[in-house]
Symmetry: D2
Subunit: 177 residues, 4 copies
């Protein structure tokens, strides 16, 4: 089945965005890159914060309320519709709920050719890269490194600890059909 | 009919983004903000440039090829699907083709409650604001100020020349049902 | 005396940056634009936060500690040295301490030809523009609008409430000698 | 002699900025981070482009004119003055002229305790990282990787090809006195 969506799942600072850009550069056809971060950027102030929306704690924890979940579901329905309409999509996400998150995404993408990619990174290395990025909210790399992969099933896994983004992208590209 | 999508159409530097943010702040329910600029940011390098993709000329002209058009259509299908799935969407766009652009968007949004908003700005003022923004590509404000409104039909028009974004947003909010 | 430094003082969201960019565009000679925001961006994590560093409160208040003040003084000495070495500088700042802040800057700039510019904006309008900018920290516009001008003496004042950045810049440019 | 300035020299995408942020995080005292990129961001439109200013070619080459050189010299005088006034500075630069560039910087920093750091990266790896960063101007990594080090003398060299930014920073920190 032709690959229509490439899902990259990994913790914060694991290197998903860099891999997505490399995939866009090396894949022969045009792919657009989308991320749950795009949704966060699109939110109204009322959904940025604890309660109904999405909030980021001091230790890097992410808290998600019902209002955010409802909009996320509608947004994900739209991302799937883009793919069904012919746009090839590299979708990067953080499966905070592990296997349950994958199940939710899988339901949205039903009928589409999906390549599931795990982007791993040694937690200690991810923490160092978080410092190098200078993001004000630190702690996310450590918190997410392991839990986002719990129970998740992949077609291919890459590890950015000692492999460059471009080489990871090449390995992934070999599975795109 | 309940408003599900607010379409803001206006030239570059006419103030669409500021109005969108104010709408998000004052409307009682959560609205997400999407823009054709988001699509441009999501494109692969192969579609950034003349030919098949989207290119920005020295005088601020925008050239759009078939590859971009194909992905834009799929992307727009997805935006409409988000709205159908329940996400309220403020969508800002630049109708480079005037009435023809509106027709294309209208087809995508068929069946949805759409509020069509024209965002006007005196061309000379828009040019000044483009300078104040410091964007490297200048000329877009002057090129687009008039043509994006040609033949377009609106539910409401606002003019940012002498009215603040927040006041424009309040006027628009009065038409959201 | 030849103008070597243009100091723009005004509250958050009063429009200083836009005026600075317009001045750069219309002044016949090259001017570089510097801001206390550049210093904030250059700070280490240890100075971002309450205590010794600079911190931003929930209501838009800015708290400044001794560690920040010490580095700011050294940084300002350097900005003055750039001007003495021949770089024309547009310097935008927020005089949180009003007249006392001006005195401190005046001491640093001693011997240089300085044009003092007050950038005013109706507080209600500045608050609206802060919403339109979508900055996550809101409240700064309201908090700072009046206090930054208390006791400060200017060569020229502009008001962005009903005057475009470019027109304000033209008025200022008429005082550059 | 106490270290007052840490100069990081390396080609584009060699990892200087990440190392600078890690240094800021691990060094016991506060250091501010400055870069020639800050100057470029501060330039007026008249100095962005070929001729007198700074221009970036299609193949990643950087062309620098007299107007830029004059302002850069004044700006560098100011950076040195900041350090003399007590600000500890991590300064990252790209020695396009190799040894001649170092000589110019050395003159500005005369009398200060300077730690000269070479930031190397395998050219092929730097090119891959440039793709992963998604910068629109590609080619700079390849063009600059070797030439910026020609004839330059360092106190310490790090290589980001197979060493993380944080580990490079730790090695450098061991030389800060």
């Amino acid at each position: 089945m032709t690959t229509q969506v490439i899902v990259l799942n990994g913790g914060s600072s694991s290197g998903k965005t860099g891999i997505a850009r490399c995939l866009q550069a090396i894949l022969p056809r045009p792919w657009i890159s989308m991320s749950v971060d795009d949704l966060v950027d699109a939110l109204p102030p009322s959904l940025m914060g604890p309660g109904s929306g999405i909030a980021f704690g001091q230790q890097g924890e992410v808290m998600v309320g019902e209002g955010f979940r409802a909009i996320e579901a509608a947004w994900m329905t739209g991302v799937a519709a883009m793919a069904r309409a012919g746009a090839r999509i590299i979708f990067d996400d953080v499966f905070l709920g592990g296997a349950a998150s994958q199940e939710r995404i899988r339901t949205h993408l039903e009928g589409l050719g999906v390549l599931w990619v795990g982007v791993r990174c040694d937690p200690e290395i991810a923490v160092g890269r978080e410092i190098a990025r200078g993001d004000r909210t630190s702690g996310m790399a450590a918190t997410q490194a392991e839990i986002v992969h719990q129970g998740v099933v992949y077609d291919i896994e890459v590890d950015t600890s000692h492999t460059e983004s471009l080489d990871c992208a090449r390995a992934i590209a070999g599975h795109v059909v």
